[in-house]
Symmetry: C2
Subunit: 303 residues, 2 copies
């Protein structure tokens, strides 16, 4: 298996393109990951995560009317591209005698994860909009303020709305014609938010979440990355691997594992990230080169 992330054409120029390599080994699974795919009018453009986020429409729908377009605050185009590659390689391994040339496009990979933003347009002809943190199809559904910070609440159904209002001690709102139906609540969502926040701001978000979820009202705090990584839901399910005394770091480090368990165990990560060229000598030796050959190659700048 070979995975490369060059711009289209570079591997061919090095004499290592898929045609050459597969002529030698028809069972090779060759996976190229590029910004836009191996052909097409944008194929030759250099791709950075943020540029793919911009071209894909991700930025256009993130934020609200005043803050959009905004990028997602981590390199999601890089990693969704990588996850798509991992899926395609796992699929190709099911027919190992056949081999495969896999051409992953970060742009296409991101578009394939955009769900109803894409399908509402393609199928319903509905243009995507910026909605900030509000869920436009329902209310109260979005991000509201608590004593210590924001909470997400998705009281999308009538009974969830009723349970929320009663738990907050605001059963009076259930009698208000402005909030009688889902359509009424959507039309008056700003007023509704203000009413609910008068109560929500009296206690911390996590306390509300702990009380509301058992009542059937989906709710969750807005956490920071350090907070969730230390949370027992993540730390207690073996999501984070620990490696002692890592070469190039000189101490132990933690890395995350895959987002699923198999037969009750988290698939392990075999090794920490290597140093640059760490395994080069061992690989060359396995290919039959001796120490003199390797020294010569290094002198010539081949490795």
């Amino acid at each position: 298996m070979l995975v490369e992330n060059f711009r289209p054409g570079v591997m061919d120029r090095l004499g290592l393109g898929p045609d050459v390599l597969r002529a030698d080994n028809p069972r090779l699974i060759y996976c190229a990951i590029s910004g836009f795919g191996q052909d097409g009018p944008l194929a030759d453009r250099p791709a950075h995560d943020q540029i793919v986020q911009g071209l894909s429409g991700v930025m256009s729908v993130t934020g609200d009317a005043t803050s959009a377009p905004l990028r997602v605050g981590y390199p999601m185009a890089d990693t969704v591209g990588g996850l798509t590659a991992a899926m395609m390689i796992c699929a190709a391994l099911n027919a190992p005698e056949r081999g495969a040339v896999i051409d992953v496009s970060m742009l296409d990979s991101v578009l394939a994860t955009m769900g109803w933003v894409v399908s509402n347009h393609l199928i319903g002809g509905v243009a995507p909009q910026t909605n900030g943190n509000e869920t436009p199809t329902s209310a109260p559904s979005g991000t509201l303020q608590c004593a210590d910070g924001p909470i997400n609440i998705a009281a999308n159904k009538d009974d969830q709305w009723e349970a929320l209002a009663r738990h907050l001690g605001r059963a009076d709102l259930l009698a208000d014609p402005a909030f009688a139906t889902r359509e009424d609540r959507k039309a008056n969502r700003l007023r509704l938010r203000a009413e609910l926040e008068t109560v929500l701001t009296t206690r911390p978000a996590e306390e509300w979440a702990r009380a509301l979820n058992p009542l059937g009202v989906p709710a969750g705090a807005v956490m920071t990355v350090p907070e969730i990584l230390a949370h027992p839901q993540v730390a207690g399910r073996d999501f984070i691997a620990w490696f002692e005394d890592v070469p190039g770091v000189g101490r132990g480090i933690e890395v995350v594992r895959v987002g699923a368990m198999v037969d009750g165990r988290r698939p392990s990560v075999a090794a920490p990230p290597p140093e640059l060229g760490q395994d080069g000598d061992a690989i060359l030796k396995a290919l039959g080169y001796d120490a003199d050959d390797i020294a010569q190659m290094r002198k010539e700048g081949v490795t």
Copy 2:
């Protein structure tokens, strides 16, 4: 293969949990997709996409100092969870005699795609920050204003910065000590942005992108979803499938395919989304039930 998306415990209550089904068929690949995984303190909470976005830290790093926390404007936790499930199922199919019980957590799946936001914290002890549309490690690198809207530019290296300044007719900036080194440009990024935008705002973003990329300066317009779906890079690479006369819709519809090509072809989508229960009768007949049985089951509310 079985894929389910209930809250933990529901399939057991229905008598269809993995232990029961695998006792009957040890080769079964059983894949459960839930918000937080099958156990742990949050397992019983209902999960909506936005709630997972909030808990995972995604919202905490999206936006800038005034607009964060913001959700990503499409259901990324739903779809990254689904993509992780697809990868794990493809992997499990490589050992079909073994079967597998796969427990996908949307929360873990999202955390696994957060790249340096997570690793900077875990390995470097660096707390994640909100950076809006700026790339904090470089300048000029971020979203800048053109005549018709914004453009992403990633002039991260010295030679890219020089090519950009020269192409914009602002070689004078190269002589300004405020912009001499990458550290200088980072320290003065707001002033640098203003200088560059005096020129960038004279032409549309796509025109700049078309000129800058061949000079080695990564650049791309910020597009809307309809714009990119109609772009020849996407439409010309067979990313969108067309189905005629779809049941329940009464007309043709378009759906997106997977974000990769295999051996020069886009893996096809076999069928459009079905209507609810569309295949129920055919499946029951294949299991040996006749029309009377099915009518009786329907009467009893079993199907």
